[in-house]
Point group: C2
Chain length 115, copies 2
């Protein structure tokens, strides 16, 4: 785990730690959209939404293209994949340890915690 990876994960997890940004991601999963459209469900200014998009972009979760004066936002699923990869790794490490501990206890009840 390099420091670069760390910063990338920081930004990605932080980006998703906000309901507005999660809703933007949810909307984008159904296809690209412009700032106005993304802002519509929220009771905040357009500029605030623009900032949220920037945060998502820095986290690598979305990309932007150009279409006349519009700058549509697109979901970048690879970044989402990196997050699940991180989480699932440790979830599996934990589960595997748990299973082998179970097996150990089943064969010798005298053993407790952390062999």
């Amino acid at each position: 785990m390099t420091q670069d990876d760390d910063e990338r994960l920081d930004r990605a997890f932080l980006a998703l730690a906000d309901p507005v940004r999660r809703q933007i991601v949810a909307r984008l999963s159904r296809g690209p959209a412009g700032v106005n459209e993304l802002a519509e469900p929220h009771a905040i200014s357009l500029q605030a939404v623009s900032k949220h998009i920037h945060v998502l972009e820095q986290a690598g979760l979305v990309t932007r293209t150009r279409d006349a004066q519009r700058r549509p936002v697109h979901l970048a699923p690879e970044a989402l994949e990196r997050l699940t990869a991180w989480i699932d790794h440790y979830r599996l490490v934990h589960e595997r340890r748990f299973r082998s501990l179970d097996a150990l206890l089943a064969q010798d009840p005298a053993q407790q915690e952390d062999p």
Copy 2:
């Protein structure tokens, strides 16, 4: 998506948006540990680590037990599972849309973006 769910996701994603806390989660995937042990790899005070653990606990990512004056921290994998569930849901929505768009384009190249 209720507001309660939102707050729970906020806390969980925010909890993982910090390298110290992620390292704590990584360590705990290998078994429970006390504050001192969790603090050892980090160049910050014990109190700071204690706060990090509190954040993880509020997010439901860890639980604590008691063992004499120790208060071991345990990983709570269900919370991790909720996170991957959220991410994977939208990842799949996106992928499915992408596939069907591909299919559409393959059968009629005149169609472009968002049918």
